[in-house]
Symmetry: C2
Subunit: 436 residues, 2 copies
Amino acid sequence: MSMQLNETHDPALRSWVASANTADTDFPLQNLPFCLFRRAGRDEAYRGGVAIGDQIVDLGAIGNALDDAAPAARAAAALGALSSLNALMDAGPQAWSALRLALSRLLRGDATPRQELLVPQAEAEFAVPAQIGDYTDFYTSVHHATAVGKLFRPDNPLLPNYKWVPIGYHGRSSTIGVSGQQFARPRGQTRGPNDVEPSFGPCKRLDYEMEVGIFVGGGNAAGAPIAVAEAEQHVFGLCLLNDWSARDLQAWEYQPLGPFLSKNFATTISPWIVTLEALAPYRAAWTRDAADPQPLPYLDYPALRASGGFDVELEVLLQTAAMRRDGLAPTRVSLSNFRHSYWSVAQLLAHHTVNGCSLRAGDLLGSGTQSGPDASEAGSLLELSAGGKQPLTLPNGEQRVFLEDGDTIEMRGWARQPGRPRIGFGAVAGTVLPAR
Amino acid sequence: MSMQLNETHDPALRSWVASANTADTDFPLQNLPFCLFRRAGRDEAYRGGVAIGDQIVDLGAIGNALDDAAPAARAAAALGALSSLNALMDAGPQAWSALRLALSRLLRGDATPRQELLVPQAEAEFAVPAQIGDYTDFYTSVHHATAVGKLFRPDNPLLPNYKWVPIGYHGRSSTIGVSGQQFARPRGQTRGPNDVEPSFGPCKRLDYEMEVGIFVGGGNAAGAPIAVAEAEQHVFGLCLLNDWSARDLQAWEYQPLGPFLSKNFATTISPWIVTLEALAPYRAAWTRDAADPQPLPYLDYPALRASGGFDVELEVLLQTAAMRRDGLAPTRVSLSNFRHSYWSVAQLLAHHTVNGCSLRAGDLLGSGTQSGPDASEAGSLLELSAGGKQPLTLPNGEQRVFLEDGDTIEMRGWARQPGRPRIGFGAVAGTVLPAR
């Protein structure tokens, strides 16, 4: 996939969908992210859709609208009309790019308006966009790893492997839900610092983690690693991901084999997947401290230093039950950026497969919590509250160290560059219900 | 599911399939394990089958053979004829039991022989029997955990959580293969004890782990834990599992989030799944040392102490390339027993779901390496070679500390009790190819 800019990136493009031309939309014509949706309250199949302003282009209703487009675009649209996006993801970057170009032309201001292709986002319900065969969670923010490491291992915050190995572990596919997910506070074993024996009960240190999700496009055969220089061709796109975490369960269970029940009760993703092609104008340099080691050859590639990262701002907002009751909007608790990631997306795929492990279309990778260098950029309450010691005071006077029942966490993400429209990821929201 | 014995367990039963009545078969009429198979070399669909002697009852060819059986048995056979066993697994213990009874009656010596239902096992090829949504690997042998802990943490071999928490982590679904799997020696980062920096190359400490696989039958909704007393009703059956492990990769990567590339390049399972009903006469007492803590209430249940375990012998055999060339049979390197497991199968399911995590039909759990208390019962080369320090000498004079290219590991399992036929799990074999 060429990361060169093309006509779909032209900042001057406007759409006949008026809501796509406003300054505050996440979904101008230059974005065109994918989702899986259906009209809410109807007994109809989920199918693929593409955001434009406050509307969705229904790939299941495309009919003859792309008859003038390239055959590859028509074929990709047909795959996008299926009940999951796996087949479209598997089709590869030429197919994704052909469909993007065709949709861009279809929706431009000088094209004939085709309202019959549109479903208002307000009338849609969304689903997890792919059958996720395997979900892997990484740990790519050195700022997060250092801050959390200090809490778990004060004498040894950043382990010796961190700056050599993109640390990751396998997560749970069965409990990944789309924005709007609600889940009961998990129960489990914990042992306090002064306890001899563990006890069982509801989690007392429930947290979120602000992450970027990476949907794998075309996979690789077992035994055939993905080379780092080609790895981005295997990425369908990025979404937002909330890796809900039960810190007290994690502290007691995680040695020696890593997090398990502390993570696998729920993971929430945004409905929208922004393609790498849409993000091409919003790439970031990949930088290291002078003392940091150079990546091993299988993790190094020509484009890494100039444009290995993504300049995507990541915002976390909290709305408590009391705020909701009083009509108060969610309040920002942090703002970070994906460009702080110590490892690039391409490095994650290359590392994941270098031992012969196979990825499949629809697999999901989590970036790990995207904390930045400043304290206000921390991607979890564990960091914002200094391990639960310093409560956050919210605008209505409420305080939080960890999440309480009824709290909703909303994450938003967007990319912007001078002279270009801002493109957004929409939102991922999830709500904590009381323990059963 | 009642674990009481019924007519299908009668030790006197004989079959019209003569090979099922021999003393050395794994598959007498009292066993009836499931597989997914097709005739080798033919362009036909995989479907379910049931072993009897050296034959397979083809569930795709059952026709009117069960017309006299209960409707539940006919319905279950129809699900078993599909291209994966997920639907049959999801049907629940009444369905599995009805089908077992019907097949037992169909195959008895006094029934009319129906050769047209049979496919010789020698003419079949097998597949992973279900679409495995999530794969979880546990760590249930306290003997393995202690022995390995000594190598990684000499001063602290068994961590404080071990005897309270059934330790587990999520593994990789995409690289699970059926017996016969071959894979290239994985490559990756390692750092020796005297090295300042890591290096990249083929794994030098490649190992196997002898485990029992547990296929989940009916799952649970997210947020609705499976109670430990009912957990066995959610287990379709057991198989053999080889958790291939790259010890040098593991030592460098595993902190703080657990094993990743050291495990996810390959996992091999036996084609046969032995149901819990078949294993009912071969249960084992579940015992603890007097000083061990009692399980927390969510992990305790009435049947635990008398019959929580399974008396299944587990054998590991090694055949090197030289042995294969010289016509030498695989040689036994260890013999253990699943009854040594510190945690019961029911406890694994209850723990896995107590936080609200959902299991789905077809999910696979690994028991963890089943090492017994004696050194000859060690389920990995890491233990047998004392961390690579004491080579094993094979009958032909070759030595091994870890696996070499061309080595085949074969695992076998069986259960026996006085006055009852021995029932077996068949074999799971896998071969290490040279690194790419």
